[in-house]
């Protein structure tokens, strides 16, 4: 089929000014967009800059923006991409949310590697006995292999609403990598890792809106991996700061009353000793009260019927821990 790729190009070092260049080629519709780009570079324009390595979807090198959405170009077929626009033209641009270096090449150090390195992504194995296997279950292996099937393609990061406004956040890609080390029972720094990942810009900065899971092409479900990290922190009673106060307070009021005590949550998230923080809440509380919103905290918070049953669920779980 004949197809036109409309490529956004950037001069080296100028990630603000782009130009568009269209290339029309004759290619089998079942070939991939990466095949198309390679054909363009081989036969028409050797100056076109883009990345690609394994061409089979395992290395994560060839991710670009296609029709405005992140895509792994070596797993995207030309015919399918062409169908998405009325005139059959396929718009290709570099990955968003990161600095472009040239043409379709982006700053991967900032987008991926710096963040992964920040999570200390290795496993400190307990045993160093040579000639000996560690005993771990196949179930754990399955879960680890799922997280490790991540190619750091960046699609989850590109869909992340938090990264869209805050590039310092670790992001779902790095947190999925962090899950791999936290979840590996051979690692000796479990609690240390969970505490460190609970810090600023870590797991609690996630809005758990499921964009990451929606964008992941490998079904790794990064949002659920982040939830796994949350659950581990909660189980070990780890973490610091606002996030910890928040989850503890939420749990405490549901345990006590069967449902959320919002006023209590607002106060305790600031921290009971945090006079300044609590005082900050007062104008909002007054305004709300004047409008007729008066959620009452603590003993004024009405317990739900059956709250004892809810409490006993908590107690059972605590024992299991």
């Amino acid at each position: 089929m004949e197809v036109t790729l409309k490529v956004k190009r950037y001069e080296f070092g100028n990630d603000l000014g782009s130009s568009e260049q269209s290339y029309t080629i004759e290619i089998d519709g079942q070939d991939t967009l990466l095949d198309a780009l390679l054909q363009i570079r081989d036969e028409k324009d050797p100056t076109l800059g883009f990345r690609g390595s394994c061409r089979s979807g395992f290395c994560g090198d060839c991710t670009m923006t296609v029709h405005g959405k992140g895509a792994i170009t070596c797993r995207t077929k030309v015919e399918e991409a062409s169908k998405k626009s009325k005139d059959g033209v396929i718009p290709i641009a570099p990955m968003k949310l990161t600095k472009v270096v040239k043409d379709l090449i982006y700053d991967d150090e900032q987008f991926h590697w710096a963040k992964i390195k920040a999570t200390e992504p290795w496993v400190d194995v307990a045993s160093t006995v040579p000639d000996q296997d560690q005993k771990i279950s196949n179930e754990q292996v399955k879960e680890l292999r799922l997280a490790m099937s991540c190619t750091q393609c960046g699609l989850c990061d590109q869909g992340c609403v938090v990264l869209a406004i805050d590039k310092t956040y670790l992001g779902p890609g790095a947190l999925t990598k962090a899950f791999r080390t936290v979840h590996d029972s051979r690692d000796t720094r479990y609690k240390e890792r969970l505490d460190s990942l609970s810090g600023k810009r870590g797991m609690w900065d996630c809005a758990h809106c499921f964009e990451a899971s929606e964008h992941c092409p490998k079904g790794i479900e990064p949002t659920d991996r982040i939830f796994d990290l949350h659950d581990k922190v909660i189980k070990e009673d780890l973490g610091v700061g606002g996030a910890k106060r928040h989850y503890k307070s939420f749990a405490a009021s549901v345990k006590a009353d069967g449902w959320l005590d919002e006023a209590r949550l607002a106060i305790e998230s600031e921290g009971l000793g945090n006079v300044k923080g609590i005082l900050r809440l007062i104008p909002l509380a007054v305004k709300a009260a004047l409008r007729g919103k008066r959620p009452m905290p603590y003993f004024l918070h009405k317990k739900r019927p059956g709250h004892k049953k809810i409490r006993s669920i908590f107690e059972k779980w605590e024992v299991k821990k």
Binding site: F12, L38, T47, G52, S53, V129, P130, D133, R145, S149
Partner: protein, 561 residues
């Protein structure tokens, strides 16, 4: 000027393993890679690692299986080390945090890969390569090993016959750098881009082999090219052998498991070259569907597709709209990996002092004429470790100071000259496609004298046209044109070496098939083909196969199939 005790070129399995062991042995290590290490071809290399882990196995049996697969062209000293060290290497990887699939007791499981008489291949579902690459990279980060990502080595610095480091081009800035070192370990992997229909990644342009050759090192057994039986039809993307290890069948167009006519005992787990031959035979006798046969996984336990064969299912769904749980998968053999490479001893030392080589770009004779499935990754790990240690411990006997400025100046001139040439109608990519077409047709699975001589002629003509190529974009930053030109030069050179080696070996053995010499000839050809560049010419000579305790092993003349 940059300096490291050990300069590793290539960030895949062997390169990272060597870098880790060199660091552990106390060396200051620098690792140069054309792509970020996590983007290496190794990421898509889904195989297994052999080791005689289980009590019913032994390194001797592993060795015997290896010799059989290698059709006795193996250097037995290398095979001994490979098989003896396997168990320790697996334990080391485990301690690195490697995630191997487990048996029901929670210990490392092993499966049956082609050619092994006993199941001994440790695996991680169908994505061991991807998982292992990550684990090695995790260790690189942990050890804080310096990496130069997206740099390409353009030549090896040699002074007074000794290796002194490399010159590398940084893609981002376009700058040339000297990275000097006590030793250099080449671990650049595959040369599969020489072929159009191959499982190889875009990076597999044989850089290490060409660089070493130009530096005066010898290349050995370059005629042996391994084909993988089950590549996706038309695309050449590999479907891992795990599909067969987990129980998949190969069917012809009549729905028959045709391997019963070629290897009834081993069936789909027969050695690769037997399966390749069988497939080509079925196709040439009209029992293929076009030029492919079928991989059948429909009878496998559904649970497998959610874990052990998950990546395979995703791959087929994304690229072919096929579901291996319900559909037959058209497959055909594709060029996979070179068996031959830079000639080294068992410590990875090449014929140039200070220059080492490991992994797929190298050959120490451990594989012979054909690789036992699961030995490739083992080779990368075991010899990667040994080379790293050897390089770290290397004491240079030559203390002369290299005139780095002069050498560097030469390299800069070379690139300057390249940039001065204006581009013509012919583009490097077009010539590469022509070259790969020649290789596919004449230097493919089946070769003969006429085809090989024709190939040589065509390649020589092509090489002349390469000299006229130029560069369109004169800005050096992130300009891939010089890279493409350099890679093309490397590939042309290697193509000639491969063709000459293939012409020279007048027999068929393992992964070298001469239709005009279809039999294995042990009286004349139980030797290695070595090529060295002397005064710009490819000079061939032969070396003996190293035999250790297995001198008495019966080595019969016989039919190749």
């Amino acid at each position: 000027m940059l300096y490291h005790d050990v300069v590793v070129v290539g960030g895949g399995f062997a390169g990272m393993r060597a870098a880790l062991s060199a660091k552990a042995a106390g060396a200051n290590v620098g690792l140069i890679s054309k792509v970020h290490p996590m983007r290496s071809h190794s990421s898509g290399s889904h195989s297994g690692i052999n080791a005689s882990l289980k009590p019913h196995d032994s390194w001797e049996v592993h060795l015997q299986d290896t010799l059989k697969a290698g059709e006795y062209l193996n250097n037995q000293d290398a095979v001994e080390i490979l098989c003896k060290e396997a168990k320790t290497e697996i334990a080391t990887l485990e301690n690195f945090g490697m995630v191997f699939s487990r048996d029901e007791h929670g210990f490392i499981d092993v499966t049956n890969f082609s050619g092994s008489s006993i199941p001994r291949t440790a695996f991680s579902g169908d994505s061991l390569g991807h998982i292992l690459l990550q684990v090695l990279y995790e260790r690189i980060v942990r050890e804080q090993i310096v990496t130069y990502d997206e740099w390409m080595v353009s030549s090896i610095l040699v002074d007074n016959g000794s290796c002194r480091g490399v010159v590398a081009r940084e893609f981002k800035t376009g700058d040339l750098h000297i990275v000097s070192g006590k030793t250099v370990i080449l671990a650049t992997g595959n040369l599969g881009k020489l072929y159009q229909f191959s499982t190889c990644s875009l990076t597999g342009t044989g850089d290490g082999q060409a660089l070493a050759y130009r530096a005066g090192a010898s290349l050995v057994d370059m005629e042996f090219i391994q084909y993988a039986p089950t590549a996706i039809k038309r695309r050449g993307i590999l479907i891992t052998e795990m599909a067969r290890a987990m129980g998949g069948y190969l069917l012809n167009k009549n729905g028959d498991r045709f391997l019963k006519s070629y290897s009834p005992d081993l069936m789909e787990l027969a050695p690769r070259h037997i399966i390749n031959q069988a497939i080509f035979q079925e196709i040439s006798e009209g029992r293929g569907e076009g030029d492919s046969v079928f991989l059948d996984m429909r009878h496998l336990n559904r649970e497998m597709f959610s874990d052990q064969l998950r990546e395979t299912e995703y791959l087929l769904r994304d690229l072919e709209d096929l579901n291996p749980e319900k559909d037959l998968i058209p497959v055909q053999p594709a060029m996979h990996r070179p068996i031959g490479g830079i000639q080294t001893d068992t410590k990875g030392a090449t014929t140039v002092p200070g220059l080492f080589a490991v992994g797929e770009c190298s050959n120490n004779g451990s594989h012979g004429a054909g690789r036992l499935g699961g030995n490739s990754l083992l080779d990368n790990m075991v010899f990667g470790r040994l080379a790293g240690e050897a390089a770290a411990g290397y004491i240079s006997c030559d203390s002369s100071k290299i005139e780095l400025d002069r050498v560097f100046g030469k390299e800069q001139d070379k690139f300057g000259e390249l940039f001065n040439r204006d581009s013509t109608d012919e583009l490097p990519g077009m010539l590469r496609r022509e070259l790969s077409n020649i290789m596919d047709v004449h230097v493919g699975y089946r070769r003969d004298k006429l085809g090989l001589e024709n190939a040589l002629k065509l390649i020589t003509e092509l090489a002349a046209r390469t000299k006229k190529l130029g560069i369109s974009n004169k800005n050096a930053q992130f300009n891939m044109e010089p890279q493409m030109l350099l890679e093309l030069e490397f590939m042309m050179q290697l193509a000639r070496v491969m063709v000459r080696s293939a012409l020279s070996r007048e027999e068929s053995r393992g992964d070298h098939n001469r239709t005009d010499y279809p039999y294995t000839d042990n009286s004349n050809w139980l030797k290695h083909t070595v090529v060295t560049q002397v005064n710009g010419e490819d000079k061939l000579h032969y070396t003996e196969v190293v035999s250790t305790r297995w001198k008495e092993m019966e080595v019969e003349n016989g039919s190749h199939s």
